[in-house]
Amino acid sequence: MDKTVPDLAAAVAGIQDGMTVMIGGFGGSGAPIELIHALIDRFLATGHPRDLTVVNNNAGNGHVGLAALIEAGMVRKLICSFPRSADPVVFTELYQAGKIELELVPQGTLAERIRAGGAGIPAFYTPTSYGTDLAAGKPVAEFDGRPYVQERWLKADVALVKAHLGDRLGNLTYRMAARNFGPLMCMAAAHTVVQVSRIVEPGAIDPEAVVTPGIFVQAVVEVPNPAQEEDLNRARAVYPQVAQ
């Protein structure tokens, strides 16, 4: 069994128009910049994929990564908890012009909905958002005298995730807080593509320290020295072109 793929273009080749794509990361930490840029490259060359529904905690920052994906016009709808950032101009302008749809989800509910998607739980109850606009239209039930909101699972066709080490079986580790949504999205997508800083031999990752077991991963591509969104934005980078 070998889940490694030779390059980024091959890694994102299967993503089609209209798909739901989970993209890992919290702000810049864990953002799979290289996978996203490979997807933009494909769109610029072929006009596809488009009309994507993207699931991410945020809405991108500056003009690289997720912000660049949105700026390229590939995203129809965003499901996220916090579409603000230091420089969210790309999303904000499209949103205010009515050109992109937003489903706002409380962060813990977002995480739990994704886990539920991966764990085969079609719905669960949470006190989060009870009595607020974000619970509008959702079933409410009482348990032990307290009201809860019913939330549905969230699944995706594809997940794009950044990890640290990976082996050909798909076992993964992450780096510090870059872990965030990665392990959950790996579980919830039909096809999970992971960029890792280094591909190692099976067994090189301590079985006790595997964070994502390989069963949740379909493709692994090596990207040594991956870019940090924060560094790119401090350098005022723009994708597909990098400013002087």
Binding site: G118, A119, G214
Partner: protein, 223 residues
């Protein structure tokens, strides 16, 4: 002529249907033997409910580590690429549809795919383990069982009489006499022991066996 397959031979036959790279959960008892018969060139990855993916064979007697066991509480070993995880993650794999195949034992299987394998009724101590999770989680649920009970009564039935493990979940039965698919609420006979007359097999089966396609000989090695 083989009168009926041994459990080892049933396990061999079931192993032939497991693809390279498949994620597989093998039920406690006879199904565990399936792991021994992977065809050359194929490497399935075995999952056990108690939190191991990609474990290896049994250790030599006397070298067991009792923190490293499978769901049947038998000692196993690790291999390069093994991962440990807790029970909720383990059943996220099961219930989230990530396993390709689960192979379970059975008290009864019905032509509608219902399975009974956890309770023999009000007497005795009931024990369900992970069976009810596996039957609604794995992409393919197969059963490995003697074709008849020790008293010679059919275990493949029109409807289960014992408490159910799952509804409409089984798609293939590896019995001691035949390989039978469950399709559209019917038993479809795919393979039977060579020399076993169809009528005899039908008489040992509690529901109609359908043969829309040619029936192959069920041939397994001496094991």
């Amino acid at each position: 002529m083989t009168v009926k397959l041994t459990p080892t031979q049933m396990a061999w036959r079931a192993a032939q249907d497991i693809a390279d790279g498949a994620y597989v959960n093998l039920g406690i008892g006879f199904p565990e033997m399936v792991a021994r018969f992977q065809p050359p060139g194929r490497e399935a990855i075995f999952h056990t409910e108690n939190g191991i993916l990609g474990f290896g064979e049994a250790p030599a007697p006397g070298t067991e580590d009792w923190d490293l066991i499978n769901a049947g509480k038998k000692a196993v070993t690790i291999k390069p690429g093994t991962a440990f995880f807790h029970h909720a993650d383990s059943f996220a794999m099961v219930r989230g549809g990530h396993l390709d195949v689960a192979i379970l034992g059975a008290y009864e299987v019905a032509e509608n795919g219902d399975l009974a394998n956890w309770s023999t009724g009000p007497r005795g101590v009931p024990a369900v383990g992970g069976a009810m999770d596996l039957v609604h989680g794995a992409k393919r649920v197969a059963v490995m069982t003697d074709h008849v009970t020790k008293d010679g009564k059919p275990k493949l039935l029109k409807r289960c009489t014992l408490p159910l493990t799952g509804v409409g979940c089984v798609t293939r039965v590896y019995s001691s006499l035949a390989v039978i698919d469950i399709e559209g609420g019917r038993f479809v006979l795919r393979e039977k022991l060579p020399g076993l007359p169809f009528d005899e097999l039908q008489s040992l089966t509690g529901a109609e066996l359908h043969t829309p396609d040619p029936v192959a000989d069920l041939i397994v090695p001496e094991l």
